[in-house]
C-alpha cells in the first residue's frame, strides 16, 4: 500500500473494451463522474445521488463515508446496475477501463460487472441462500460463466474459502450458511465476490453487523486480499474509525454529494470540511479525552436531511457550527482545498487552517 497520490493513467482509456488484463499499480479501473440517481415515489421525484464523482485505482482502497441516507449505497448500486425499479440514473457515467457501464444495455451491464466489478453486502445472512451449501453458492457464477466441471468447481470453492481464511475449508464447503457464524458468513460473501477475480470490489458496510473483534479481522482480510491481488477496493461505511487503517483515499458524502475528497492521512490530520471534522470527532475513542469541554461525547448535531428535503444552499448548513448567511443560499462547489484534495465548503480554507493551527 503506497501513500502517494494516485498517478493518473489514462492511456488505456482509448478504445479498451474492458477485457481482463493485468492490473497495474495506479491504473484507474473505475471512474464515476457526475453521477445522479433519482427515485420516483408518491411524493414526486427524489434525488438520492447528485453529481457524485470518484476514481477507483488498482492497488488502492477508497472509502466512501457518510451517514444513512446520504446516497453512498445507492451510488454503488447504480454502478453495479442493481438499482431498484423506482430508481434511475439521470446523469453521469461510470467508466470501467473506458467502457461506460451506465450506457450499456442492462444485460450487458450486469455481465460486465459480473466479470470485473463485484460487491459484498452488509447482511451476509440475507445474501446467502439457506437451502444450498456454501460451496455450491460460491461456485454458482463460476459454473454458469465458465462451464467448469463439478470437481473443478469444488476445488475452486475450497481455494476461495482458504483465501478468506475460513478454517477447515475442505469440510466447510459442504455446510450450509446457518452453520457459519456472522463473521464467517461475511468471509464467504467476500470469497464469492472474489470467485471471478474481479478488478474492483465494492464492500457495502461489510462489518457493520459484526462484533468489533470480527470487524477487525474482516477489515484486515479485505486489506490483505486487496494488496495481494492489486485490486481496486471501495469500502462503504458510516464509521471513519473503521477505515482509518485500511483506506488510501476517502470520499465523504452528504445528502447525495461528495463534500470532501482527500488521501486518508491528510483527511484525518486536517479535515477541510466541517462535516468531516464533526464525523471524525464523533468516532468513539479508547484513549480518554474523546469528550468535549463539558464531558459530553461530541456528536454531529441533528440528523441528516431526508432525501427530497435537502436544505437550500449548503445541505449541511443546519447542522454546521460555521454556517453563515452565504451557506443558506449558495451551494458550495467541490473545489480544490489543498493540493490533491478537495472540499465543498465556502470556508474550507478556514476549516483547514483551524485544524492545522
Amino acid at each position: 500500500m503506497t501513500t502517494s497520490v494516485p498517478v493518473d493513467v489514462r492511456d488505456r482509456e482509448s478504445e479498451d473494451t474492458g477485457d481482463t488484463g493485468p492490473r497495474d499499480v495506479g491504473e484507474t479501473l473505475l471512474e464515476v463522474d457526475d453521477l445522479a440517481v433519482e427515485f420516483r415515489g408518491d411524493d414526486g421525484v427524489v434525488r438520492a445521488v447528485d453529481g457524485l464523482g470518484y476514481r477507483v485505482v488498482a492497488g488502492r482502497t477508497l472509502a466512501l463515508v457518510g451517514e444513512s441516507g446520504c446516497g453512498k449505497s445507492v451510488s454503488s448500486l447504480a454502478v453495479m446496475g442493481l438499482l431498484p425499479p423506482a430508481a434511475r440514473v439521470t446523469r453521469g457515467s461510470a467508466r470501467f477501463r473506458g467502457t461506460d457501464l451506465l450506457a450499456l444495455p442492462p444485460a450487458r451491464h450486469r455481465e460486465h460487472c459480473g466479470r470485473h466489478v463485484a460487491m459484498v453486502f452488509q447482511d451476509a445472512l440475507a445474501a446467502l441462500n439457506p437451502v444450498h451449501t456454501v460451496g455450491y453458492q460460491l461456485t454458482e457464477a463460476l459454473r454458469a460463466r465458465t462451464g467448469a466441471s463439478r470437481r473443478d468447481a469444488r476445488r475452486r470453492a475450497v481455494e476461495l474459502l482458504d483465501l478468506v481464511k475460513v478454517p477447515h475449508a475442505a469440510q466447510r464447503v459442504h455446510e450450509y450458511p446457518h452453520q457459519f457464524s456472522g463473521g464467517m458468513r461475511q468471509r464467504v460473501m467476500i470469497a464469492s465476490a472474489l470467485a471471478l477475480d474481479p478488478d474492483v470490489l465494492i464492500a457495502d458496510e461489510p462489518t457493520t453487523a459484526l462484533d468489533v473483534t470480527v470487524q477487525a479481522q474482516v477489515m484486515q482480510l479485505l486489506a490483505e486480499i486487496q494488496a495481494e491481488r492489486n485490486m481496486g477496493l471501495v469500502l462503504i461505511t458510516h464509521d471513519l474509525g473503521v477505515v482509518a487503517g485500511v483506506a488510501d483515499d476517502v470520499t465523504v458524502m452528504y445528502a447525495g454529494r461528495a463534500v470532501e475528497q482527500a488521501p486518508v492521512r491528510e483527511l484525518y490530520e486536517a479535515p477541510a470540511h466541517p462535516y468531516t471534522r464533526a464525523l471524525l470527532r464523533s468516532v468513539p475513542r479508547l484513549a480518554g479525552g474523546g469528550t468535549d469541554a463539558d464531558g459530553r461525547l461530541p456528536v454531529v448535531p441533528g440528523r441528516p436531511p431526508a432525501p427530497g428535503r435537502v436544505p437550500s444552499g449548503c445541505a449541511f448548513h443546519p447542522r454546521c457550527d460555521l454556517a453563515r448567511d452565504v451557506c443558506r443560499t449558495d451551494v458550495p462547489p467541490l473545489a480544490e482545498a489543498a493540493p490533491g484534495r478537495s472540499s465543498a465548503c465556502h470556508f474550507s480554507a478556514e476549516v483547514l487552517g483551524g485544524a492545522r493551527g
Binding site: D211, T213, A216, Q220, H238, G245, S282
Partner: protein
Amino acid sequence: MAELTRPSPDAGTPGDVVLEVRDLAKSYPVRRGVVLKRTVGQVQAVDGVNLTLRRGRTLGLVGESGSGKSTLARVLVGIERPTRGAVLVDGQDVSTMSRAERKHLRRSVQMVFQDPYTSLNPRMSVAEIVGEPFRIHPDAVPAGGRRRAVAELLELVGLDPDHANRYPHQFSGGQRQRIGVARALAVKPRVLVCDEPVSALDVSVQGQVINLLEDLQDELGLSYLFIAHDLAVVRHIADEVAVMYLGRVVEQGVGPTVYEAASHPYTRALLSAVPVPDPGAAAASRPLLLEGDPPSPADPPSGCRFHTRCWLAHQIGAARANCADGDAGSVPERCRTQDPALLPPDAPSAPARPDEETGPAPEHVAACHFADLVPGGAPDTSSRTSTSTSTSMGADS
C-alpha cells in the same frame, strides 16, 4: 408483607445497591428429534455471574456475540427465568416473590433494545408505544393524566410532543432509540438495561443517544447496565466494566483500571480490536490479538474457557517449548485443566474465591492463571513483545 407502593425514583442515596446478581446461571436444553424430543445437552448461556449495580452508576458489560450478555439482560428484566442463582432488586430476591409482586417489581428494571427498527411496533403510533406501559400498569398514572405523561416523556428524551401521532418509520434511527428510551422510562424504573443501544446507529448519532442517557441518569438517578461489544463505546459512559466470555465474567473493575491495566488476555484482545481513527497509528500492522470465533457455549472448552483462542497461553506454550521439552504451540496445562478464579490480578493465586471473602470487593479482578504476565500499559502504547513475555514467563516457571 409486600410493600406495593413503590418508592419514588428519588428515594435512597447514591451508592446504594439497587440490583444484585448472585451466581446467576441460565442454560437452554438442546433438543433433538421431531416427535419425541430428547434433551441431548445444555447450552450454558450464562454460567455463574456475580454483578452489583449501584444507584446512579453505570456498569458496562462487554463481550462478543455468544458471550451470554444478552441472555443476562433478558434474565434481569424478567423475560427469562434463571436456572440457578438469584436476582436481587433492592435486596429482595425476585424468585421468592409472588406473581403480583414480580409484576410490580418488573417496573423497576426496564430495557432499551439494540435495533431501533424492530423494537417499536410499526403499527402503533408513538403516543401508543410510549403510553402502552400505562395500560399495562394502570396504577402508574391516573387515566386522565396519560396524554400529558406521554408528552412529558417525549420531551424528556428530546422529541417534539407534537409528533406523538406519528409512526415509528417516520423517525430516524436515533430518534427511534429515543422513543424506546421514553417507553422504558414510562414506568419510572430505577435500572435501565441497555442492550447494545447504539450499535445499530450511525457513529455520528451514537453520541446523541449516549449523551441523552447520561443526562437522564443525572436527572433521574437511574442506574444502567450498559451492554456493548465495543469497549470504546462503553468507555465513556461506564463507571465500572465487566468483560464476559462464554457465559462467565473474566474481568471486572472500575473503569480506568480495566482500560489502562487490563489483566485478562481476552480484555486485551478486545482492546486491540477497537478501531483507532488515526491512519498513522492504526495501520494494518497493529497486532490483532484475537483469531476466529468463540467456541460454542453448548460445549465450552475445559479449564479456562478462553484457552483455545488465548494469545498469551500460546505465547507461553511456545516459549516453554523453546526452553523445555513441551510440544510446540501447546497451551500450558493449567489453562487446559484448571478453571481460573476471579482474583485481583496482582495477587498470587489465592485459594479463596472473592465472593467467599469477607472484606470489601476488590476494585479489579480477572480470571486468568497468568494475569500477572499480561503486559501492563494501554494497548496502543504497550511494549508487548514476545521477548518480554517469555522472559517474565520464564521467571514464573
